[in-house]
Symmetry: none
Subunit: 204 residues, 4 copies
DNA sequence: TATGAATGAGCGTTCATTCAT
DNA sequence: AATGAATGAACGCTCATTCAT
């Protein structure tokens, strides 16, 4: 069998396992993933899982990577739809929100590794976040050139800050969903828009 | 034995257990707390633990409450040291940061219940968060009266937003501590100050 | 304090405990009785329970005795209402059935000690069963004298047999209640009457 | 390894566990079975037990099923040895008795599920009881055709009644073994024969 | 490469009984 | 006599990982 084919086959199983894990997590949540079920739903023996992933943790990390890549793609697409830097930043925050809404599991995975200091975070994973950061830095620089963003702010620091704030707001929206919907004056969109307003006004 | 003394003794055991749990969590992290070790380190039989707490979860909740109360106290003290609303908000964010630095476990406990929708969150626990919210709302209102904060922003929404953003930034500082310290232009304080600047400029 | 009064008081507590245990068992079943709840519902400290009963088992035994005494009383009353031996036996079986229906817990207690060979069965408890046996023996003898019951059967053996068969039928009615009510031709009364018929025809 | 062999091996372990459980129950009684000891006596890790049985309860159920099947076989064999319906019924009751004597644990298991309404009673288990019922019904019908059993009695009701009475008598013999052997006029056989006589006379 | 049987430490919780006060 | 805090063995069950085949 040619090596390529083998690699393809290997890749297939790898994906198979990841898909099973993902399906299971969507059904039962991030924390109740267990190898027995992954084995069952991937139609692979339990031992086989360990030929593709050194541990359960590694499966999680792989999914987290996938989630980050998807988020990056989401951001890139959102940015392309806009011309003005400010609108692009806005678009990114909105993309973040829709991503959270449409892929709660992926967002949870992203947060999970953002919040907890996992020792398994690989360079590959960090690289994606770096690309997100660079995307944002680029926009900020453009905004500063266009005079729409305060030039005294260091772009990379701002990008960093923006990421932290936005993740914080997203978590708030997720956890306090009930509180928000019960409040008369509140809605998720109002909170989100308020955040965007404060942020954009803050960087002018 | 007078009833008072007994109550004191009971209180002592309660604290003993909580202290043991706290020490253990500081050593091994929030998630690896287990009743066997709590029993061992508190010099109490495992069954005894259940005379003071109905479940392991309740121990966690008690510690989370303690953490929240401490955080509130921290905030109140910080606010008292300042006269101007803007300075007070700044002080709160700084207090949040020093709290995180000095009591990482407590901060983790606060976050834990902020991020995960625990069913065990009691009214008592929510009440503390409410008091924090009200503290902030009060300051915002003062700031609006003094013309230092944009009057068009709803105070309670802003308080909400501020909480989300700040928690997000704190997590960022915690998780990305290594990244930050490696960066040449970055330091935790710079990120923090940048956040504060953006936030305060944003609400002017 | 006169000794009598003390005894009375002692008796009161004894009854208190038994009542609490009974109430609890009615609520949650024979097997889930636990000393914590007995303590709580009797308003007596847990240690106090052990001043009146050497063990939980002893509480069970006391209740089983009470149940047997009540059953005996039930039988005696039933017998008094009839003149003819055959009718009296019939009445006893019916009394057994109504007792089961009205006091399922008591019946369970009676059965419990009939089915399992409890080491705690006291002479007092056996004595009650003996009195039931003797009651039945008396009736059988009368029936034999009256020519209504086959004289060749030894009365005490028959009494023994009758007790076994009846308890068996009662259990059947209890456990197979669902099966019986689903069956088109069956009802508890039909089974009971059939049993009575077979039994009475069998001893003629 | 051929699949057949594996199945055999799997079957062997299943049996191993069941045997360990059985041995333990014979030693210490139905109720004190625990998984630690089953693990120890089967030379299998505790986790392994759960590969073959979903729960402790399932082990009990499996043994109860085994007991029922054995009892049915016992009955069928007893019936084959006789030609006359009345003799066959007699043989069944005797078979019941010898079964109790030879396999007290199995009998306890049969009773256990007869007395307590276990939610785990499977269709397979009910099916065996049904076959016993049908065996008896068939005999009764034959007896009625031959004019040896009262035709006015509904066979299925009678079968039902007979099962209840017989189980009751067996329990009596088991629990009151001591009482019986102490009595001058009594012996287990006398009680049994008396029961059979009453029953058979009753259905004529 | 693939299997899946086997492992066994680990977990949270219960509860009858004891005993110092 | 009365208390109730304290005990600690016991229990059923889970699950990531290993390894002989």
């Amino acid at each position: 069998m040619p090596k390529e084919k083998q690699t393809t086959k290997k890749q297939e199983k790898y994906t198979l396992i990841l898909d099973a894990a993902e399906t299971l997590m969507k059904k039962k949540g991030l924390y109740s993933l267990n190898m027995d079920e992954v084995s069952y739903f991937s139609n692979l023996a339990k031992g086989t899982l360990y030929l593709y992933f050194r541990s359960k943790e590694e499966i999680l990390a792989a999914l987290a990577l996938k989630a980050r890549i998807l988020l990056l793609a989401h951001f890139e697409k959102a940015v392309l739809n806009e011309n003005q830097p400010i609108q692009q930043l806005k678009a990114i925050i909105h993309a973040n929100y829709t991503f959270l809404k449409n892929n709660p599991l992926y967002y949870e995975l992203v947060s999970f590794y953002e919040i907890n200091d996992r020792e398994t975070e690989t360079e590959e994973m960090s690289a994606v976040i770096l690309r997100i950061t660079e995307l944002v830095i680029g926009i900020i620089k453009n905004g500063q050139l266009a005079g729409e963003i305060d030039s005294r702010i260091d772009p990379s620091i701002l990008s960093f800050t923006m990421w932290g704030m936005t993740v914080g707001i997203m978590q708030l929206l997720k956890v306090k969903a009930a509180t928000i919907s019960n409040h008369p004056n509140l809605s998720e969109n109002i909170v989100l828009d308020n955040y965007i307003k404060v942020f954009l006004d803050g960087i002018k």
